[in-house]
Amino acid sequence: MDGSFFRSYRRCDVRDSEVLVAVTVPFTAQNEYFQGFKQARRRDDDIAIANAGLRVSLEDDVVTSVTLAFGGVAATTTLAAETMERMKGRKWNEELLQIVTKSLVEELEVAPTAPGGMTAYRTTLLPSFFFKFYLHVRDELSRTLETVSALAGHERALLQPHVRPPHVATHLYEKVPSDQSPIDPIGRPLVHATAHQQATGEATYVDDMPCYCNELFGVLVISTQARAYIVSVDAAEALAIPGVHIFLSAKDIPEERNKCGEIVLDEEVFASTSVKYVGQPVGLVVADSEDVARRAARLVRVTYKVVDKPIITLQEAIEAKSWLPPFTAYCGDVSAAHAAAEHSLSGEVHVGGQEHFYLEPNAHLIVPGECNSTEVFCATQCPSTMQKAIARALGVPANLVVVRTKRMGGGFGGKDSRSAMAVVPAALAANVTGRPVRIVLERAEDMLITGTRHPFFARWRVSFNNEGVIRAMEMDLFSNAGYSVDFSRAVMERAIFSADNSYYCPNVRVTGHVCITNLPSNTAYRGFGGPQAMLVREDIMARVAAFLGLDATRVREVNLYKDGDKTHFRQQLEACSVRRCWADVKEQAHFKRRQELVQEFNRTHVYQKKGLAIVPTKFGAAFTIKFLNQAGALVMVYRDGSVLLTHGGTEMGQGLHTKMIQVASKALEIPYNKIHISETATNKVPNASPTAASMSSDLNGEAVLRACQVLRDRLAPYRKQHPDAGWDSWVAAAYLDRVQLSATGFYSLPNVSPFNFETQEGTPFNYFCFGVAVSEVQVDCLTGDHTVLRTDIVMDVGKSLNPAVDIGQIEGAFLQGQGLFTLEELRYSPEGELLTKGPGTYKLPGVQDIPCELNVTLLREAGNPKAVYSSKAIGEPPLFLAASVFFAIREAIAAARSDERFRGHGISDSVPRNTTASTKTVQSGTSCNLGAATSTDFFRLDSPATAERIRMACCDRITDIVRMPTPGTYKPWDVTV
């Protein structure tokens, strides 16, 4: 087998009559060395971005034969033949290294248009791999040859194989007081109410429900164009397949009923005259089985006429001014403060989106009933919203539609409004056929159709003094909303309210532009715009610190909110715990000592750098849309004393039902195992708000409490009469006395008023959650690989209803945030097609990506008078703490950039520097300005900090000679949206 074995993409030199029987890998001979290298997005279970197999045979230190094979640089595995030729007969020394470095880049440079993207990074990896190989061989040679110099400590360190220390974790929370009643479960770490059923596989999700004997399956026909007119839709061929029942499209429904949309009716169930993104539903094929429906759906011919170029990226949207009317929150006098300040700095940063990747794709089952009624089993966060949407599409009143949600296999905001994309077409089909219809999206469909977290782009300008105290901040936020409004305005509102993160600034102006593009409608995602804006704010803190040559921790500290401070939207902070969290986590993390250790590591290491960062977070609790701050509950007590509880919230894994059972248990003073929650349904609790905004425990908890109080009052006479008889007896006696044993509870949040952007008045939040995290990372500066060594978190959760559930939310949100800020990268073609359509290309954090050490503490002696049993919202608030990993990476990169030993390695000064390196495109978002003084190296680092971005930001003589293509001069494989 040699360089000619692989002939072209997925073709090799094997005849049809031949079978490859074996590949023999010989042992290395004396003075022969081999090493393999691989760099992927995720260390485990991921294909290589680039890899290498490097072999050399030497006589003394002279190369006699060599093989340099590289993958990920061309359509096939490729030999660097010219470089190999140049190496022969040369001594294994610095000169050879320089020749190979330069030669590899020249010979194997990945064209900017190459499939797979990341082209400059892939080229950079080749000499980076070789550099490691060079050191390895030099190390071996130096053992026997005096002429070869031994490796220095920092060089040897680079050769150590990657080892993850065993994972450790600590959790600290307050135990319940010793005098708390043993049956009072509040504050106790109860396991998830259905954990046992989940572990055995008995927990039922929608697609686990048995089929009706007359059930049909629906498959959506989706658009392949991002912006085009529909010329025709021809389903004749699909309908000819046996087993296909109907094909539904826009012309099968009255125009008015085809309209849909969460807040504005700007969407269509089926695209009628034009399509606005790749993945937009055009029709639905309904057949006897999924298999038949899928085959038929592929045969539906949709012809398009493309007139206008689609708007895909935020940059394109900004150029076209494709946005909703912008809105601004402000305070103080920004211009005057800028003018008066000692320093000003401006910058730009991009924060990528994120696919929800709930493990259970969209699944719904619609069962038509008599009198035009419909029963819907729906994996959604908002049954009542789906009820409304289905009733609208069917042209029936809402009382004929019952939506039932038992549980979801994850939601994270993705099964909020966007559930309608699948459930409404299927409901129409059930209505037309009069038969049950099931729709279950494939993973790729789900990712194409339902939208993601909003990508954000920001321009900012701040003014500050020598200590880094920020006196003025302007921020222009641009979100990529996709093709429809959906929640995008509300997402931008929360982004604006999060632009302070946890820092006081008296003069602020934050403007939000919701950009309409030809992408799927981007939607709610855990944090709802907050994490993106807070990342921008932390980018400011990091770059101000770099500008001043100060420790970023110090700059963050001097700006932290104090109790009683007012935010830029003029809401006063009461019981602000951020400074307590800050002090506690610094102590828990031994911050000062470890900062010194990190500095010491960075002094003794050249190619590996560590970074340590502390980042706070703030989260305003309330729906910013006022009317959503309401909830209902229905508590039914049966004659045997058992209790069936229903409330307006849905269970998607977050433990809401567990917490609600705990609340009812305490309120009724009965053991929690007497209480059961079956499902969430629109015929039990009407008009429930979506399970969103982290508010479900606050709102539904109060509603449950109120319903329970009614029942307690009704049972009070029986309790008084026979205090020792017990709950079951009181219930039985009350029943015989004809006392009503069911009660509803209702709660609407007082004291919040929507923020009015015209008058700058309002109190959008009920209270605020705070938390602070410290993370330490180690970066391999030659490959961009990183490991999170340790994370410490202190989170204010008030008085936890269930510390195990709350810690689960903190850890889960943290890792999801870590994915957002480091690993997960949605990639779109320039034409707007999502290229990352499954777990093979879209990498979530895996078990080996979690911090090696993870310590979580629930803030001691915390409380909250404003929510049920003094608890606090928990679902979203901790997510942004993962930014501590992002900024620790940034610190590590900065250490590499300021280390002359790293910047200068690998190639001699005689090689001319590539001047275009400083204009690296938005795609990598980093700039390599080696000429800048280290103290003012306030480089740009976009999110996520992928291996590509990390490597390309660690500028050295390799990145210097790699050609950075000029944007606009070529058509890239993918674009940053």
């Binding site: 065993p166 450790v168 396991v191 296999g409 689960g808 979530l844």
Partner: protein
């Protein structure tokens, strides 16, 4: 023609005319009504459909964890498939793997949980001695969880390893102390 014969949870399954397009996950869920194994991605990337496959290799029964979504039914002749349904049940008794995972708060939405259980189960069955912590982590690399952040899953399962006996990984774990 001989029928295709394999075993699922100890029961003999015979197919006279197996369709080459059938994959094991679809077969389990749709034909046998065993819905504990979940369809998360259909490309072997999430592990929610993990089951254990047992077959004779060189005269020895060997156990493997496989992605049911990628396993053609026609390749299963003479093998035995074990799904999460065979391990334990909530009304009756949980398998220790299931119990430890549940009690460690290792399930939130629960959709990935059967897959984790089966990856761990196949690991324990595949060797006569307890696996090491490193082997456990390696065995879970193909299972994605979007809710928990993995820590509680590891905490529950590491008690089944030879070197990870404390749940948190610390030698002075508070759960081992007498109070």
């Amino acid at each position: 023609m001989n029928p295709l014969v394999f075993f699922v949870n100890g029961k003999r399954v015979e197919e006279q005319q197996p369709d080459p397009e059938w994959n094991l996950l679809w077969y389990l869920r749709s034909k046998l009504g065993l819905v504990g194994s979940k369809l998360g991605c259909g490309e072997g990337g999430c592990g929610a459909c993990t089951v254990m496959l047992s077959k004779l290799v060189d005269g020895q029964v060997r156990h493997f964890s496989v992605n049911a979504c990628l396993s053609p039914v026609v390749t299963l002749h003479g093998t035995a498939v074990t799904t999460v349904e065979a391990l334990g049940s909530a009304p009756d008794r949980l398998h220790p793997i299931q119990e430890r995972l549940a009690k460690a708060h290792g399930s939130q939405c629960g959709f990935c949980t059967p897959g984790f259980v089966m990856s761990a189960y196949a690991l324990l069955r595949s060797q006569p001695t307890l696996p090491s912590l490193e082997q456990l982590e390696d065995a879970l690399v193909g299972n994605l969880c979007r809710c928990t952040g993995y820590r509680p899953i590891l905490e529950g399962l590491r008690t089944l390893t030879s070197d990870g006996q404390t749940t948190c990984g610390r030698a002075d774990c508070c759960r081992n102390r007498e109070y």
